[in-house]
Amino acid sequence: MKPRSHEPIVWSLFGAGGMLAALVGPVLVAIIGVLIPLGIGFDSEALSYETVLGLLQNPLIGLALAVVISLFLFHGAHRIIHTLHDFGVSASTLLKLTGYGLATLGSVVAVVLALGL
């Protein structure tokens, strides 16, 4: 029997990550990285330790952040692995194990940190 491909699983994670990065990525980067530091529409001190900790101690918000981090990592890993092909680096099993392995590791760390706050 032909071994089953893992492609549907990683493509789903790539697709989910790409969709999430497209829908919420630009606005998150704009708010956290540009608008708050410049004090546009927000207090420039809006992200205090107490505020952010209080928000993320809600397990739903904490998990939401972990999901964003995890899916961004899987999206990027998949795209980078397949684009390296165009630079003469084949998408070998070793490269895939490394890429998706690191994305999995980052996801586990994110979930553990978010739920341990």
């Binding site: 990065a21 330790y49 980052g106």
Partner: protein, 132 residues
Amino acid sequence: MNQPKTYTRSMSRWWLRRPNYKWYLIREGTSVLVVAYALFLLLGLSRLADSPEAFATWLAVLQSPVSIALHLLVFIAFAYHAWTWFGLLPQTMPLLRFRGEFIQNRTVVTAAIVVWIAVSVGILILMMRVLS
């Protein structure tokens, strides 16, 4: 052994050969910044879990002019990713039907971009309320 000398076209700097190759590479390149941003958020989360002082250091980085400039670049990358992602939806999604008629590609893309803008404005308003 006599190897036949077949002509093999060089692949060096292939991305400069056609404008579309360059745009393809820029689109794929956004994923490097998506990963970088995920790691930056993960770093902030770990600093938050560590101590108030550690998180203050991460916040101080966010306030620096270099960080703001880099975040503007990352914002452009995310926005370009989003624009191309929604533009490709007709190719990546199953065909949709409405009352027996296939929905036009243009309609799918326009609807996705409208949803994108609505979600972005919604998150912006929500964050302004929560963080005020």
